[in-house]
């Protein structure tokens, strides 16, 4: 049974770095791992995606170890507007199916 798990919730203060890890035991080795942000009553919004090692864009970094059994989203210097639910997404190995992580509710405090 494919499992993609994340911490249920995290609290952080403004200006801190936040790391959210997704553990996945059955993600395809030849497909990207993608992270999304979701606000209430909205569709998920793309943050970053990677295939292996480290990827950085203007809003986040993504670390994927060689075994690809996990991935870690890093948000530098979070602000109140980063309060949202964060999901990882990957394609299940040898299928045409995609699986989201269980989601992490991040609350940023002033």
């Amino acid at each position: 049974l494919a499992k993609t798990t994340q911490p249920i919730s995290m609290d952080s203060y403004e200006g801190q770095e936040v790391n959210i890890t997704c553990s996945h035991n059955n993600i395809a080795t030849n497909d990207y791992i993608t992270w999304y942000q979701q606000f209430p009553s909205q569709g998920p919004r793309f943050i970053i995606q990677g295939y292996k090692t480290k990827v950085t864009n203007e809003v986040a970094s993504l670390f994927i170890p060689a075994d690809r059994k996990s991935s870690t989203l890093s948000l530098p210097r979070v602000s109140l507007s980063d309060t949202a639910v964060y999901y990882c997404l990957g394609k299940l190995v040898r299928t045409y199916k995609y699986i989201f992580g269980t989601g992490t509710r991040l609350k940023v405090l002033a």
Partner: protein
């Protein structure tokens, strides 16, 4: 350019009725995906289209659910004989091709079955 659009944005129906949910992907995107998000729950994959073809329909929750895509563009998710447990937000996403796999999501259709 326009993003993924979905219609209707909200739908209230009575148990036993059929409903059709529509998704307009980003122009030129060949891949299209449907997901479901029940109240307060995570995101559940339903089906994936590459062009007009869905290679695996086993993610659909029951045989009351069907999906089609025509002309490599618009897709329709149909739920027959709706049940209260079908109440959820139905999300559609599209991506340019399988190589990049970045899925861009629409705002969703909120379905309430009374």
């Amino acid at each position: 350019g326009a993003g993924v659009s979905q219609s209707p944005s909200n739908k209230v129906t009575e148990k036993g009725k059929d409903v059709e949910l529509r998704c307009d992907p980003i122009s030129g995107h060949t891949a299209l995906y449907w997901y479901r998000q029940s109240l307060g729950q995570g995101l559940e994959f339903l089906i994936y289209f590459q062009g007009n073809s869905a290679p695996d329909k086993s993610g659909l929750p029951s045989d009351r659910f069907s999906a089609e895509r025509t002309g490599g563009s618009v897709s329709t998710l149909t739920i027959q004989r709706t049940q209260q447990e079908d109440s959820a937000v139905y999300l559609c996403a599209s991506s340019s091709n399988r190589a990049t796999e970045t899925q861009y999501f629409g705002p969703g259709t909120r379905l309430l079955v009374l």
